[in-house]
């Protein structure tokens, strides 16, 4: 009987077959998952179907990826494309104006209206060039030199940086401060002292985190180091901490401190408030009923502390691969999935907004 039931593609309950596939694919709501789990606990045929199909799907996926030789190819594409780009000319704003002007000018010239054509063309081309150069509002660009996975490169301040490597990247700043950014993180360097750079805006150290996660090991210095998120600003003078901002419309910033202390300030239209988060503690800044709220610091989630500890171990050799298990841990706990369709991080059940003193107004 055991061998009969071992392969049971058609043995499961018909009405549950699609639900089980959706469950395997992670496409069900938490309530839907619970419904399927309860059924699998009661129905041996469906449970057998689920076990067999889930295993085969994993093996099939692995085998297919092997055939396509997944690991190396995609990351080469950016290098190849950027090698060709310098020889290409995208159409800029100035060209969009001057191209049709030249076409009109050619027509006028053909019609022996040379003097009108020439005057009009020259005037409009000058305007096009001015628009392209943005005279009157020329932005002097500032740069800083950082290392991305060991490679030194120059980045423009305020310019978005995107982490495309599945294993994430180690970013080293001019003062030796270190960050590990996970896959699908967007951030920018807004200010940094850089002796090799052309200039700097201010003397402090500032990052802007648009979405994703950063693990930070900040070198002590008299200049503050701050990370600005859409709804918060976190500032330290030298410590190790973790910060995450989700990419959905309801922004929630999470800050966890491994060593030292950080100051977290909530940003919003309403009254400003800030708190100090000590070693081993965490806080969240989130939207609630249309306002920005912040939790009183509480004991850090053990999982998040474990991640920070792993970061601390991996930082010496800058090994992003050692941190890959972090990604697996993150995925399994549904905090951030690698596919990017992230469920929102859960609010810890022992913290309730209505408890007195728990949430800043």
């Amino acid at each position: 009987m055991a061998s009969e039931r071992r392969y049971c593609y058609t043995g499961c309950c018909t009405e549950w077959e699609q639900e089980i596939h959706l469950y395997i694919d992670g496409e069900l709501s938490p309530a839907g998952c619970e419904r399927v789990r309860r059924h699998l606990a009661k129905c041996e045929d469906c449970a057998c179907f689920y076990r067999v199909v889930e295993r085969e799907e994993q093996l099939l996926s692995g085998r297919l990826r092997q055939k396509v030789a997944m690991s190396a190819v995609p990351s080469l594409i950016a290098d190849q494309v950027m090698d060709v780009i310098p020889s290409l000319q995208p159409i800029t704003w100035g060209q969009r104006i001057t191209k049709p002007v030249w076409a009109a000018a050619s027509y006028c010239l053909d019609q022996n209206r040379r003097h009108y054509a020439l005057a009009a063309s020259m005037l409009i081309c000058v305007i096009g060039v001015l628009l392209t150069m943005r005279i009157g509002n020329v932005e002097e660009e500032h740069f800083v030199h950082i290392k991305r996975n060991g490679t030194l490169m120059r980045v423009t301040l305020f310019e978005p940086i995107y982490i495309s490597r599945p294993e994430g990247e180690f970013i080293e700043f001019p003062d030796g401060s270190l960050a590990y950014a996970t896959y699908d993180t967007w951030f920018s360097v807004n200010a940094y002292q850089d002796e090799g750079g052309t200039s700097n805006v201010g003397t402090d150290r500032r990052l802007s985190l648009k979405s994703g996660e950063l693990y930070l090991d900040v070198r002590p210095a008299k200049e503050g180091f701050s990370v600005i998120c859409p709804n918060s600003r976190t500032m330290v003078f030298g410590t190790q901490f973790y910060i995450r901002i989700n990419s959905g419309p309801m922004k929630e910033t999470t800050v966890v401190v491994r060593t030292g202390q950080v100051s977290v300030e909530k940003l919003g239209k309403d009254q400003m408030a800030s708190t100090i988060v000590e070693k081993g503690y965490m806080t969240k800044v989130f939207s609630y009923n249309g306002t920005v709220r912040m939790r009183i610091p509480y004991k850090a989630d053990p999982l998040l502390m474990k991640r920070l500890n792993l970061f601390n171990e991996a930082k010496e050799d800058r090994s992003a691969q050692r941190l890959v298990p972090l990604l697996d841990v993150i995925s399994k706990n549904g905090v951030l999935s690698r596919s990017g369709s992230a469920p929102e991080p859960p609010i810890l059940p022992d913290i309730l907004p209505q408890q007195a003193g728990e949430v800043f107004e």
Binding site: Y9, E56, V81, M82, P90, E159, P160, Y162
Partner: protein, 188 residues
């Protein structure tokens, strides 16, 4: 949700800042490559298609009306390049809907008993190649990178419900006949 940083980068590229194109390529290179892989089924060809898709997108960036739709627009360029490549390989497709279907073979390669999982996987892989293209493309995208139904729908410009039903139907077809064969093996 499209990130505002993407729109910023597109504006910067249109202002002549070519280096701002790199983060966009890095963000989409994996998906574009896998989409191409699922359609042309050849990694080398897929790499060429992906590179060409980014270059075409760069040259024609000024034609993109809604800058928040860079991703779907890029996937459209990729799909068209794939169909062109397939035509050159003499496969003659016009769209995912009209890609030629192949008869599902009832002949399954029988292998000597071994590690059950791997034997079954090789059989399933062989059957995957025989599925109609409209199922095959979706299954390949799902197996290669475990994209969500929403992401697959975006990459192939299909409704999510259709993705859901085709994945389900594709998996049924993939395993059709397998149970019967196994029951025969078990002496039933």
């Amino acid at each position: 949700m499209v990130h505002k940083a993407e729109v910023t980068l597109i504006n910067q590229v249109l202002n002549g800042r070519k280096e701002c194109y790199r983060p966009l390529v890095e963000k989409y290179q994996q998906k574009v490559f896998l989409l191409a892989c699922s359609l042309v089924r050849n990694a080398a060809e897929a790499q060429d298609v992906a590179q060409e898709a980014f270059l075409q997108a760069y040259k024609n960036l000024h034609t993109l009306k809604d800058r928040e739709k860079f991703g779907p627009w890029l996937y459209g360029i990729t799909r068209n390049l794939c169909f062109t490549a397939l035509r050159q390989m003499k496969v003659q497709p016009e769209s995912i809907e009209t890609l030629p279907s192949q008869e599902i073979s009832n002949v399954v390669v029988m292998r000597p008993p071994g590690e059950d999982g791997l034997d079954i996987v090789e059989t399933l892989l062989a059957k995957l190649d025989q599925l109609p293209e409209k199922y095959q493309v979706l299954l390949r995208l799902k197996y290669l990178e475990d994209y969500s139904y929403q992401e697959i729908a975006e990459m192939l410009d299909l409704p999510v419900d259709l993705v859901r039903s085709r994945l389900f139907e594709g998996r049924r077809l993939l395993r059709e006949g397998m149970d019967r064969i196994r029951r025969v093996e078990n002496g039933q």
